[in-house]
Assembly symmetry: C2
């Protein structure tokens, strides 16, 4: 792999297995840790990367990616075994198993297409989150050191949170169930559909804004990729409306610099105690 590769590309780098078709091997890096495990968005991108390599010409980009998290992952070697269910004219569908030492971590199903070939119509009625300029938002230089120590992931990104949604860092959560801000990869790598899978799970759990700090293990995460993102800052919002029974849903929207809603995701996670 060339030395110029970005942190994210190194994070999802894969080597095809010489003897087992559809199998790819890689390494889950320590730099993507969060609370002892590896970030769920990075895992989703790792598995989707393997499927993208298998989906073949005409289907270079994920359109939908659904992951069910089977067991907690940790930094170290990881294997993805892929299966392509169908290669159609505009869509290919596939499934992938991400495992470590023979133990399954994540099961993914996905549909791939060519996002550059979608029709031009945009009739989106959703509106992007209103944010202060990035330089008026809160970067991780202000984050508590204990948080960074548990979340090496945060050093891989330039995240600028809306001051209105970071009261929780000062013990004053808004209680609205919303966290939003600006997102870029720290090393300047441009966003693409695979990196958006990371972005969809990169912010602190929205439950922080409800006064419930602590990690929130993901049960299931589905991301829809709706357009190729333009270069520049992404606007990201996380919201929840149904905290109940020990679980909550987290809806994420990712808007690009051209004002396009490029990705929507929803996850179900365990509510921190």
């Amino acid at each position: 792999m060339p030395e110029t590769t970005s942190e994210f590309d190194r994070g999802i780098a894969l080597t095809p297995h010489p003897e087992e078709p559809g199998r790819y091997d890689g390494e889950l890096g320590e730099g993507w840790q969060i609370g002892g495990g590896v970030n769920g968005g990075l895992l989703l991108a790792f598995a989707a990367h393997a499927l993208a390599l298998e989906a073949g010409p005409g289907h270079p980009h994920p359109l939908t990616v659904s992951g069910t998290y089977v067991s907690p992952s940790r930094p170290g070697p990881a294997t993805v075994r892929t299966e392509i269910m169908r290669r159609g004219r505009t869509l290919a569908t596939g499934s992938a198993v991400l495992s470590q030492d023979g133990e399954e971590r994540l099961r993914v199903t996905a549909a791939f297409t060519d996002l550059a070939a979608l029709d031009d119509e945009v009739a989106t009625t959703a509106v992007p989150p209103v944010l202060p300029a990035p330089e008026q938002c809160i970067g991780i230089e202000h984050a508590p050191k204990e948080l960074i120590a548990q979340a090496a992931l945060l050093e891989r990104m330039d995240l600028r949170l809306d001051p209105a949604t970071v009261g929780w860092a000062l013990g004053q959560p808004s209680k609205e169930g919303r966290i939003q801000g600006w997102f870029k990869l720290a090393d300047g790598r441009p966003a693409d559909p695979l990196s958006l899978l990371l972005t969809a799970d990169a912010l602190p759990p929205v439950t922080f804004d409800l006064g419930r700090p602590g990690w929130a293990p993901t049960i299931e995460l589905t991301v829809h990729l709706r357009a190729l993102p333009a270069d520049g800052w992404l606007r990201v919002s996380h919201a929840t409306r149904n905290v109940a029974g020990g679980y909550f849903e987290e809806d994420c929207e990712i808007w690009d610099a051209d004002g396009r809603l490029v990705a929507q995701s929803r996850q179900l996670a365990k509510t921190p105690r």
Copy 2:
């Protein structure tokens, strides 16, 4: 199977294969057709039923079910092959392949739990849709005959749509991208987590309300089941906010008679031409 079984239970009835562990056979009924294919929610329930039978004691209910639709299904025999990835203390995860004549129709991954054992806390901030009483809503007796002819599915349910969101039936769509109403199974079978999987995909596509009639093939559908539904009418809302590039997302909420948000789903579907 007892003759008293409901239409829905017959629709998802399965026979374990005598020689192949984890395999179940059944029949996709003509009564669940929509536009020539079989309703995607019924397919999801059919596959999840097989997984529920395999998940074992302690995990009787689906918590999350994600389906990627591989090829169009049709009435007739169908097979589900299941694989349980992990049986934990509170969660079991599994994957299922639904096929007909050896051709894959649907790939499902799911997590199962005991919804009756969830903790009691409900801190939901979402609010249920405001609807006129069922008797002031529009039943399928008012639907165009051509619609019913293409959607036998509608006869399996007692669906009462909010008059404010059925202008499309008279050529006057609201253009708000919302369809909502009351839902019950026509034969009075009480709702449960498996029937909610059907309910999540049972209303006409929300694009009808945008003045775009026509069927909208589902690419991916994920449903979160958040509580056991109380007996009685369900309130169901469908909404979309991102119609672009030939696809749209459809968010569904299902509220039970006790005012609990019992299921949330999102699908990506092709926008009708």
